[in-house]
Amino acid sequence: MRRLMLALMLVAAVLDGPALAQDDDGPIGAIGDGSLTGSLPETLPSYLVTGADGQIHFNADGLTPGEPIVLAAPPGFWQLDGTLPGTDIQACLGCLVYNTYTTATGETVVIPNTYTAIVMAATGYSPFNTPAELAIGNGALQLAAMAGAFDGLGIPPEDFTLENLIKRFDPTSNDFDPLFMLQLNIALNDPNNPLNSGAFFWAAGLFQFACHPVTGECAPVADRQPTGSGSGDDPLERICQALGDCPKPLTGVCPSRDFAISAPPPVYAAEKLLPAFPIVVGQDPAQRGVDVRAGVTVPPVTVSFNVEKEYPGERVCQWVGNGEGGGCTPGSFDSVAYKDGFQSWMASDPDWGSLDTTRQVCERVTRTFPDPVTGFSARLQLEAASIAWIETGDLQQRYPGAQVYQAVWPLWPGRPPIRQTIAADRTAISLEWERLPLRDPGQYRVVLAGRTAGTPYTAPRDLAYDKITFDVALLEAALIK
């Protein structure tokens, strides 16, 4: 198995013209001009071939198409729901979509669609829980723009840089335009787009994993070469070996690895701090507002497994032969490998000598992996029942024209917290906001979302919290007879 970890950036500056994806019959897609930085593997995977034009082409012949991987948008990114009204049909536009293939030797080849590739390139975000054996990125983003690939999106080609895209992707940026995001998503997810013709996507990228990067499953392959212990099909064993924790296959001292993975659920913090009984800011003479704290702590993932270790054993006086033993000098050994114990002649018999032995021990090892938060968002949301109460319910009847001023309060990103504590390894985030001027009465939900990076043994986890956390009261005056 190739164990090359490559990052090949295809520099397209000297391309005469863009190499658009082609039909399945020919080379399916050129992914660069062969002007590479980094290092190439000694031999390319069979599905990557260098054409006569000097470019590297992807050819899916011999690969088995798998189910696409569809993942939620990275935290903080806008994701169009895409549910067709009245139906259960969904067409998620902001989701990250990866087409997958399985090689004859069981590796998983993952190809992001164009939008996904751009998001990954612009943000450095990767949802994969294991490092890729092979990663090829295409640096031809701007070239694609110059070639008109993104015409009609309202961005001059020369502005189509990663920096500009990041600003446009950020909902808190002044450059964020939901209409632009919508049209970008539609354009780049459209399977009929010339960018997406064939099986490979120009301006995209390609990754190869030993096992499926999300499920962790390895494709069953009939002709896989045995890997000594016969445990090569076990994804956990392969991960353990890749990390260097399982350098040798088991020999029987341990009956099995007996992997045990513990991934405690994230612990959320969502609370109203002050005041004890909030009222709408418009009725509060002090206009105090509400203090809120939100955060998450992701406990580390622990993985326990058995390894066989070798320790120095006794020094044994034993038969060596060929006059190479040198004799067993009393005091130079711990035990004697002879049924009657030490004999005086052994001290001078050159065929006997004192040798060091080792002992094999089965030990239980526990490794701890932080599962850092890669994205986190927090918002306050006025409960739907409270909105209905204001707009169409009792409150509306008593105060005709009552309206909701602001049902959604984006906090993170969107509003700088007064205090923020983010652990160095990003496994814990705590944020506090003071004096949020809530104008609408009712129940407020604290909605937290995000994602973790995952660990070598566990997939990235979604962070999700959504609970009614506090009330904001409306003072009403009533005449009492």
Partner: protein
């Protein structure tokens, strides 16, 4: 000096003058319809599109797409043809669904958000406005799609001005609408 004008020439001249006047009045109107007639108000555009969208015959996907194309922006039609149709049509075909236009009722419930797109302006659209309108859609039971969870349901439709006309851009969820609302404030 006497000038003799034949009576027939007088008639010819009168008829010619009348035709010239009529032509001067009518020709511009034949070539370019009155501006007011060309602009369909957004509420009507939303209703027309949505009604056409839910009017399907499982045997005529191309006809359905052809009917929707002039009512949608280029991007909106891309959404329909590239993403929604592939997700929808197999199930309509399996259920042999036919929904007639008279089985679809659409009511406009009003404006939810509106704004102007900088991206559209950059593309050269003189009128780069957008609107999100709330609709109530009712599909009679006989024409209901197999994927429909109710006969009457709400819909948020994004309309975008393209070429001076209001056209379909996308259907949006309530969460998506909030993003637009926040951005348009």
């Amino acid at each position: 000096m006497h000038i003799t004008i034949h009576r027939r020439l007088i008639w010819i001249a009168l008829i010619g003058a009348a035709l010239a006047g009529l032509g001067a009045y009518a020709l511009p109107r034949l070539a370019l319809p009155p501006a007011d007639a060309a602009v369909v108000p957004p509420d009507q555009a939303a209703i027309t599109f949505t009604r056409a969208f839910y009017t399907v015959d499982y045997r005529d996907r191309e006809g359905w797409l052809a009917a929707l194309q002039p009512l949608a922006t280029a991007s909106g039609f891309r959404l329909i043809a590239g993403l929604l149709a592939p997700a929808t049509w197999p199930r309509l075909t399996t259920a042999q669904t036919v929904t007639l236009a008279e089985q679809v009722k659409v009511r406009d419930e009003g404006l939810r958000a509106e704004g102007v797109s900088a991206a559209e302006q950059a593309r050269g659209e003189a009128e780069a406005g957008w609107q999100i309108r709330r609709l109530t859609v009712t599909v009679a039971e006989a024409g209901r799609w197999p994927t429909m969870t109710a006969g009457t349901f709400p819909a948020n439709i994004l309309l975008i001005q393209e070429g001076g006309a209001w056209k379909f851009g996308a259907f949006l969820s309530d969460d998506d609408v909030r993003v637009f609302q926040q951005r348009s404030q």
